[in-house]
């Protein structure tokens, strides 16, 4: 399977999931500042990793796509809710080549739409009972409960670092934050949920933890690298925006641990300013320092090592399953994470 086929499969699963999302949106007022926005936001697209991993894992383990569709809808709704709230918290300007929702409406409306998306995500979990039975449906409910808990804890860690202007972070701190904020909900739980559905609850979901963790961390580090060096149009977000936002990336942590004391003071001073008072020129200077001290290369290497570890986990777990397009899809998502340009 090549990258194009992988993207086509993800697009198919994404389109089906999007259709499912629209089925769950109430056709009633208030439309202008709630349901219309709620319906439009997921149309912005995205890579579709979460529903893709969930459906592919389900099918690779012998399940049917329809069995996983409610869970995929829930995952995608929660993901979109996280994005809307994340953009408010980060004061971001662009998301998927469009102004962020709070920029195009206002902060209050965006938060409310995000809240509505979270609540809407509960109903497909309830409907799972009809398709999967009480036991598996409840198991998936608890998977989602854990997923959301971990994600908000990870977000709290990162927001706390920014608020306190924490400057003494170690790589293990970063790995922990990414595990909690990103990995559980981007990779670990989508795969776990898919496998639970595919096996009708007969798989030990913990066996996918390392695979999803290595995949998710590799993906996030790569995403952070691309934020600094990618083509802005392809990437869909402002380049270098993470530095302006003061995001504690692996590159920033590496830089702060290796640069000279006077440079560290300059960086700390920059990070202590409110976001809107930070200057682009200063952010570019920090980017230059990241190049000088090899922070970006270090992050790229780390992402590569973790992707390799993810591949090894994948082969260990999935090699006993019959070959299928869905099994190849998961393998190719891992490979894509290493090779992608945006």
């Amino acid at each position: 399977m090549d990258t194009l086929s992988m993207k086509a499969m993800l697009a198919d699963y994404g389109a089906e999931t999007l259709k499912g999302i629209h089925n769950y949106i109430p056709d009633k007022e208030p439309r202008a500042y709630l349901y219309n926005l709620l319906a439009e936001y997921p149309n912005r697209g995205g890579k579709g990793f979460r529903p893709g991993l969930c459906i592919a894992a389900c099918k690779a383990f012998g399940g049917k796509q329809d069995d996983a569709s409610n869970s995929a809808v829930c995952l995608e709704l929660l993901h979109n809710a996280f994005l809307i709230h994340d953009d408010v918290e980060d004061e971001s300007f662009f998301r998927r080549n469009k102004p962020t929702l709070h920029q195009s409406t206002n902060t209050a409306i965006a938060i409310n739409v995000g809240d509505a998306m979270q609540v809407l995500g509960l109903y497909p979990l309830f409907k799972n009972r009809e398709v999967l039975g009480d036991k598996v449906a409840m198991q998936i409910f608890m998977e989602v409960q854990h997923m959301v808990t971990e994600s908000v804890e990870g977000q709290a860690m990162e927001l706390g670092w920014r608020k306190d202007n924490t400057a003494n972070l170690m790589e293990a701190d970063y790995l922990r934050m990414i595990l909690k904020k990103t990995c559980w909900y981007t990779c670990i739980h989508p795969i776990r949920i898919g496998a639970i559905i595919g096996t009708k609850g007969r798989v030990n979901p913990e066996k996918f933890d390392r695979l999803g963790y290595f995949m998710g961390t590799s993906f996030q580090i790569q995403d952070d690298v691309l934020n600094l060096i990618a083509d802005e149009e392809k990437y869909g977000k402002e380049i270098g925006g993470d530095i302006l936002e003061g995001k504690r990336t692996l590159m920033l942590i590496h830089l702060m641990a290796t640069c000279k004391p006077e440079e560290l003071r300059t960086i700390s001073k920059f990070l202590s300013l409110p976001i809107r008072q930070r200057k682009n020129a200063d952010a570019l200077e920090i980017l230059e320092l990241m190049h000088t001290y090899g922070s970006i290369t270090h992050a790229k290497n780390t992402a590569q090592y973790l992707a390799g570890a993810a591949l090894k986990e994948f082969y260990t777990i999935f090699s006993r399953l019959p070959d299928s397009e869905d099994k190849s899809l998961i393998e190719n998502i891992i490979i894509y994470m290493i090779d992608r340009e945006y």
């Binding site: 036991k135 790995l175 609850g201 913990e206 390392r210 590569q304 390799g308 090894k312 019959p322």
Partner: protein
């Protein structure tokens, strides 16, 4: 392994080559140690977080459902018992009804022990575990089950499992040899948790029907495990 079409094989081998290159790159000795360091550090973080999550969940369970308090009041326990446990109790009762004299003798002996124990000390209510397959099995098929034992007292406990045959409809039974318990004997230290595996290997001549077997600890009436399996032609 399912057979693949030639073009799929070609595409797949391309992906595999890239994957091999990545893994080979990591095996390069110069970077192996850095890779190992990163992966070890990552794994440590994951294991710590999983352990912290389990601990936090147990604390919440303790707050939401005060197990010790409830166990001391069996009526309260019955009021709070969950639906799936009701089902388990029903199945347990069905199983008991269907069991032969051998099982009756066993349960009577267990009850006698429990009554004696109650006279001396207030014991927690029996814990019942239900093992069942999601799907029916066919004759000749195998299935693995696991359950966990936790010693919540301050004393070590010796466990020696005993099992019955699997009892089905119309007096049919499957010999207990079809069940393999691992470990069969164990000692649980205070606060220790151990996983026990039960492998069911249905004989090829097993008759269709719903079967139940009872697994107990010969030393402790609190351990009762009911195994329920549906055999289809």
């Amino acid at each position: 392994m399912a057979a693949k079409k030639p073009n799929e094989q070609k595409k797949s081998s391309g992906s595999r080559k890239l994957a091999d290159d990545i893994l080979k790159g990591i095996k390069n000795e110069e970077i192996l140690s850095s890779a190992q360091k990163v992966i070890n550090s990552a794994v440590n973080v994951l294991e710590e977080e999983i352990a912290a999550g389990i601990l936090a969940a147990k604390k919440i369970e303790k707050k939401v459902l005060d197990v010790d308090n409830i166990r001391s009041d069996p009526d309260d326990l019955m009021n709070r018992i969950r639906r799936d446990t009701h089902e388990a109790v029903d199945l347990f009762l069905d199983a008991i009804t269907a069991l032969t004299n051998k099982v009756n003798n066993l349960t009577e002996s267990e009850n006698a022990k429990a009554e004696k124990a109650e006279a001396a000390i207030v014991k927690p209510s029996p814990a019942l575990t239900l093992l069942e397959t999601e799907q029916p099995l066919q004759p000749g098929q195998s299935e693995n089950f696991t359950f966990t034992l936790f010693e919540d007292s301050e004393k070590a406990a010796k466990i020696s499992f005993q099992k019955t045959s699997l009892f089905g409809p119309n007096g049919q039974s499957i010999n207990g040899r079809a069940l393999k318990i691992t470990p069969l004997n164990l000692t649980l230290k205070p606060k220790e948790e151990r996983e026990v595996n039960v492998k069911l290997s249905l004989p090829k001549n097993a008759q269709p029907g719903t079967y139940n077997a009872l697994i107990t600890d010969s030393e402790n009436a609190l351990v009762k495990v009911v195994l329920n399996v549906v055999v289809i032609p």
